[in-house]
Symmetry: C2
Subunit: 167 residues, 2 copies
């Protein structure tokens, strides 16, 4: 495999993990689905670093990364939260499961055209997604309204202009 493709293979692994998390969510395999969202986050934290280390960072890789992030940290956590928490909430549940990835997509599109300086503008979807998935799975004691509040706050923070320091 050419060196150029190593970071892109990691990005594809991120996307594959996110897609499998969605399929496992449909199969009601919650624990595995949550684990795969975190697995996707691990691959995502590696691809950019490996690209810079190998000196093969590319515009193609950046585009592929955003596409994978929307699926793994936007769609997969929203579906997980829907199935675990909002499935009995009718169209309100549909609205919540839809608004989170839409805010994530707006955040990713803005990021891709604005770049970064020393900090992120708005909460990155790569942070919001795992938090949403973890909250839905690990905090079942939180009532539906509380979970909806968490989802809406995370959605708002993604499209906000809040400065978030890079770790």
């Amino acid at each position: 495999m050419p060196r150029l493709w190593v970071p892109n293979a990691l990005t594809v692994a991120n996307l594959a993990a996110g897609l499998t998390a969605i399929l496992l969510t449909i199969a009601e395999q919650w624990a595995l689905a949550v684990a795969l969202v975190f697995g996707a986050a691990m691959f995502d934290s590696l691809d950019g670093r490996v690209a810079r280390r190998l000196n093969v960072a590319s515009e193609f890789g950046k585009q592929l990364d955003s596409l994978a992030d929307l699926v793994s940290f936007g769609v997969a956590p929203a579906l997980l939260a829907y199935q675990l928490v909002f499935a009995d909430s009718g169209w309100g549940g549909y609205a919540l499961a839809t608004v989170f990835p839409i805010c994530g997509a707006l955040r990713l599109a803005r990021f891709n055209v604005s770049g970064t300086r020393g900090h992120f503008v708005g909460l990155p979807i790569t942070a919001a997604g795992p938090v949403l998935a973890a909250c839905a799975y690990f905090v079942p004691v939180l009532p539906v309204t509380g979970q909806a509040f968490v989802l809406l706050i995370l959605s708002g923070l993604m499209v906000s202009t809040v400065k978030v320091p890079k770790l």
Copy 2:
């Protein structure tokens, strides 16, 4: 609403339709889910045209469009095909439902960095997705192996360098 946001609102409608198609697929509302994939395609065919007509085409809009396209024409049709056709195919079904959106993401990332001349390079995901959804829903007589063949051909055409004329 500022004029600039009209095409982006259409792109968000595309994404919302795709996400709702996924939720309806989980709810086994097949006909509505397929209809929404085609609804997403309708919104998608409008956003670029409206942006050019209003003279507000933007890099932000282009990025948002690709993100929406992956969900509406990559993830949603793959999940629909999985649920309708490959649900009993074990890990093979998972692999098929994963490979289609991955090829779609590779196609979208390549398109975003290469632009177009008079033709597309590789089958656009906006064509492949509706074909996959329609084939899974409207051609139930086609056996699982035939459906898998269609999915793999569409996936291969997306990442190929076949020249596809613009309509």
